[in-house]
């Protein structure tokens, strides 16, 4: 029989992921309020104004990126069977990134031309995170396909940030001005499809079987998912630089094929589950994959019919909210109770009665919360496409309320 030491020693100090998660709750609420207060600009299609930059970066960096970092501090030891390289460094990294993101969002709002210095602070925080993860993954004894997904996602994050900083420098000094639109498009693509999507793919391969107790499934398809999706990213970026429409079409087709393979693969994994009834938050994380598939299909159709430039805004909003954010919220609704339970009850399991994970978070709230979030986003997207202010405001108020309720549900776990 193959044995392991009795203690793996790979558990992370709970304060580290929770620091990121608590920061992110504040960030999502403030970002949604900013979107709400600057709805007029969004309805008129003015996405590139300081207030919207600020809200978008607060949402993407302050919420999604900070949550992804916090979750990785917890999930990397679970998925890769290796402890975080240096926890103390993790806390310093949190402080630097948190300060960087906050000051960056504020500067973008009040004085975007001064955003370089806070941007560099944020860059330092993210580089520290990449270093931490690089050192941690290096310790993994048996790298696997998940390492490839997460490793490539981290490279995409690095490139996204590098391009983002180039944009700020370009805006300030005029450096590489003629490449500004190309860099901007590559920045968006690598941030959404490169970093977040590949990261969610990688961790879904660990979490989907874990939360459904699936067994006996094949992992062969994962390499086709990886190959097709990453090739798609390379083709699209090449199309930006070479200004080749056909390359772009091939790129979006490859993204669609990669995503479709991922959807199909997850369906086959879930079909092999032992746990018949899936939890609601996890079901919504799975629903996010279906939304992701629809968004990839619509993006491909838009590119093929030459409507992409007019639909890119609503498609980006849908991708960020219905694929990325819904996946994160769905998984977070599972991860946070897990973290808190381990912190509070793991020492007394077997000695006294302990609550189950379901007792840790209000699961009944999950259904109206997730439905409200999805409907809100749908209404916002239609409001933006048809340029109807009332629809936008109804949707955005719903999303803002859902974000506040979500934050409160997460905070309530810590009282259990």
């Amino acid at each position: 029989m193959f044995m392991t030491p009795q203690t793996m020693g790979s558990e992370t100090n709970i304060k580290l992921p929770f620091s990121f998660i608590l920061f992110s709750i504040l960030a999502i609420i403030v970002s949604q309020l900013l979107f709400l207060f600057h709805g007029e600009a969004l309805i008129n299609g003015q996405f590139r104004i300081p207030a919207i930059w600020s809200a978008a970066h607060l949402f993407i960096l302050g919420w999604a990126l900070m949550i992804a970092m916090g979750a990785m501090y917890q999930l990397v030891p679970v998925a890769f069977l290796t402890a975080i390289w240096n926890e103390k460094f993790g806390f310093i990294q949190f402080a630097v990134t948190g300060l960087g993101v906050t000051s960056f969002a504020i500067t973008l709002y009040v004085a975007p031309h001064l955003a370089l210095i806070p941007g560099l602070l944020m860059l330092l925080g993210i580089l520290m995170f990449l270093f931490q993860m690089g050192m941690t993954l290096r310790k993994q004894t048996k790298p696997n396909i998940l390492t490839l997904f997460v490793g490539t996602a981290l490279i995409c994050l690095f490139l996204t940030i590098l391009l983002g900083i180039t944009l700020v420098i370009s805006m300030k000094t005029g450096f590489a001005g003629e490449f500004y639109p190309i860099i901007f498009k590559s920045h968006l693509l690598l941030g959404t499809a490169g970093w977040f999507t590949l990261l969610i793919f990688g961790f879904s391969y660990k979490m989907a079987p874990m939360f459904s107790l699936s067994h006996g499934y094949e992992m062969k398809v994962a390499k086709y998912v990886y190959g097709s999706y990453v090739a798609g990213l390379v083709f699209i970026i090449a199309s930006f630089f070479l200004n080749q429409g056909n390359l772009q079409k091939v790129g979006f087709l490859l993204l669609l094929i990669g995503f479709s393979c991922f959807l199909w693969h997850i369906v086959t994994i879930i079909k092999k589950r032992i746990k018949k009834k899936l939890d609601r938050p996890f079901s919504f994380a799975l629903l996010a994959i279906l939304f992701g598939e629809i968004i990839h299909l619509l993006a491909f159709i838009a590119v093929m019919t030459n409507h992409f430039s007019s639909l890119v805004g609503p498609l980006m909003v849908a991708c960020l909210m219905l694929w990325i954010a819904l996946s994160i919220i769905g998984y977070l609704y599972k991860i946070v109770p897990f973290l808190w339970w381990t912190h509070k009850y793991s020492k007394i399991i077997g000695k006294a009665d302990v609550p189950t994970m379901k007792d840790m978070i209000n699961e009944k709230l999950a259904l109206p919360l997730f439905i409200g979030f999805i409907l809100g986003i749908g209404i916002v997207a239609f409001g933006l496409v048809w340029k109807v202010g009332l629809l936008f405001y109804i949707g955005q108020i719903t999303v803002t309320i859902a974000s506040i309720v979500f934050g409160m549900a997460i905070l309530a776990v810590m009282k259990k």
Partner: protein, 106 residues
């Protein structure tokens, strides 16, 4: 200890282990099929060979220490040695009928 008493004690340990629940599945470690072997290696010393559903299970330490506490608190046992193994890997056919029923599979 004679064979019959030993067998009764092992049954008692197995029953006691049903108090250790996987909090995610709300199912005990015995019905989940995580306990591979139970034996008495010495007078009042029990050895439990067990696995988890997946390597890297986040509840790794909680469940393993839960099993240890649960057995050591029995007055008939002085010490419990828990050995965690990954081979043979856990599979659903190791679950009991009660376990499968609890997860809606029977």
């Amino acid at each position: 200890m004679d064979v019959q008493n030993q067998s009764e004690l092992l049954d008692k340990i197995r029953n006691n282990l049903k108090r250790v629940l996987d909090p995610e599945l709300n199912l005990n470690v015995v019905d989940l099929g995580l306990i591979y072997d139970l034996s008495l290696v010495e007078e009042r010393v029990a050895k439990i060979t067990m696995t988890l559903t997946t390597p890297g299970c986040p509840l790794h330490d909680s469940i393993v220490s839960g099993v240890k506490y649960c057995v050591e608190e029995m007055e008939e046992i002085y010490r419990a040695e828990v050995q965690l193994v990954w081979e043979p890997a856990w599979s659903p056919d190791k679950m009991t009928e009660d376990g499968l029923r609890a997860l809606g599979r029977l």
